[in-house]
Structure formats: structure tokens, C-alpha cells
Symmetry: C2
Subunit: 184 residues, 2 copies
Amino acid sequence: MIYLFTGNGKGKTTAAIGTGIRAVGAGLSVLMVQFMKVKELSSEYRVLEKLERFDVVSFGREGFYLPEEELEKNPQLKEKGFKPFSRIDYQLAEEGIEYVKNAVLNEKYNLYILDELCVALYYGLLNENSVKKMLTDSGKDFDFILTGRYAPQWLIDISDLVTEMKDIKHPLNKGMKAKKGLDF
Amino acid sequence: MIYLFTGNGKGKTTAAIGTGIRAVGAGLSVLMVQFMKVKELSSEYRVLEKLERFDVVSFGREGFYLPEEELEKNPQLKEKGFKPFSRIDYQLAEEGIEYVKNAVLNEKYNLYILDELCVALYYGLLNENSVKKMLTDSGKDFDFILTGRYAPQWLIDISDLVTEMKDIKHPLNKGMKAKKGLDF
């Protein structure tokens, strides 16, 4: 089965992690592959790395990066510290997909969490056809959880379960800062 | 801060658990109080019970219970195995709130997850004023995460962050069974 957690609200990655915890508790093994993130920068990694059967691998680098065109369209993003993608970002994302393909091929896990996959697709870091092929060619003895805002329609179409995490109210809109332990 | 995860889609409890894992990783301590659930029946409990600083207490009993009026209105629910609430269900829910109040009073945790609180309120197992008082009288040195569908407007109003988990696509709608390790 393919589960998809998308939308602009809080709770996508944490719902994937919570489901991963549930899977481990049921005796299953989990691989979480993170795109555009550095696992060591998240608080949850300190707990997850100690769990048996919950592996985390991240394919991002420190800092905030977006496509050059996005930054040209929204110059205020540059002021906020965003920098343009460079070759390494595309390479990292592609390595992430290769990592998953290889694990799937060797039937290493029961549940594959592809965190921020939708964002990596949206910003063109990943090739649509290669991701689609991996998700649909795979056998059915294991499950995928995909997360990230901006899920494309084709991803919704091939998913079995889709939840939209919809932002109804958010303190960051009121200028409050993200809080360690809750938000990252 | 009060975080609220509501809506009819999957991911509310798992997002709360994932955020709890994040909090533990950041060195905080977490209490999860579950209403209308038995913790031992969930796969995730086998992992959570082994974590330091993540306590889980549940105030429900095995089986599926709803208010008598709901069952009268929807007789097919009885055929599905739902039984009417009895005195014990009200007592258990109230004990759950007392347990939280006591822990809050003794400043025992940094994060309090009240799982299925909205459902317990919706079905009248809990007194609205008593819950409201507990949530708003409390100091600001700790955070709440509330989950469950049917969040009342007053709960949305007093929450700082609200995400609606919206069901876009769900395999159970197509008659597929819930899967151990992913759904419970």
C-alpha cells in the first residue's frame, strides 16, 4: 500500500514517524529516507537511531535551498537565507531514490518512509518517471509512506490512502518562532 | 502552546506520537493520556513503553462503545459490535482528566498528549467546562497536543496550532481491512 501525507499543515513527517513506531512495535522493519534534510539536525533522530529496525538515512545538506527560478520570482526568499540549488542537490536526491530502489530490490524492510518526497518532486530534484516506476513496479509485500506538501495529482492517483494535513491555524503566521522539540 | 490534530483523516494520533518522539529527542518528557483506548492493544505501545521520558496511560476498556442515542439512531452500529456507554466509561474518562490535572499540578512533564480527547468530548464522556478550565488555567511552561475527530469550535479557538487531517482517499472506504502495524 502507498500512504500519502500531504498539505500545508503540520503533522506530515510526525505522522509518518508515528506510523513507523507503530510498525516497529508490530515487529516490522522501517527505513526512513529523507530528502532535502539532514537527519542529525532533527530532535527525533536521537530517539530513532537507538531503535532496532528503524533506520534513517538523509540525502540533503545543511541550509535552505530552492530552484534559482523560485528565488528570482521571490527575492525576499534570498533575504531569508535561501540559496539556489546546485548540482549537489540533484545528485543527493537521486542517490536517495537509488538507495530506496536498492533496499526494495533486496527486500530489506517492510515499510519505506520517503520523507519530503513530494517537495523534492515539486522542485524538480527528482525525475517523475523514475519515482513513478519505483513506486508502481515494486512488489506488494511492503508499504510506502510518502510525505511533503505539493503532492502532484499522479501521486495522489497511485496512492491507496491520502490525508491532506490542512493548516487551519498556525502560530508561525502570527510571527511566533518554531520551537525545538515540537517543530524540529 | 496547544496543538490540535483533528479531522476525519488518518494521521492524528501518529502525528502526536511522532511529535512526542521529537520532544523526547530534544530532552523533554512526555505524557500521553489516551481516552477510549486500551494502550496494550496498540502496536506502538511496545516501543513507547521502552522509552525513557515517554509515559503512556490509557483510560478506556476493550471493545467499541458509543452513546445509547447514537446506537438507537444507527442500528447498524449494533450489528457491527458497538455497545452502549455505561457508567464505567464516564468514570474512566473523568479519571483520565484528573490524572492529567494532577501531573500538570506537579509539573511532571513538558508535553501532554491527550489522545482522542475530542471524541470523548463529542460523545459527552467529559465535561466541557472542566476540560476548558484545565487547558486554559494551566501555566505556559509546557505544551498540550490534543487529538481526535469532531473538535468543537471552542477547542479550535483556544488552540495555538490546528491541523485538520482531511481524508482525501481511504482504502477502508473500498472495503479493505485495517492492517496491523500501519493502522493499529
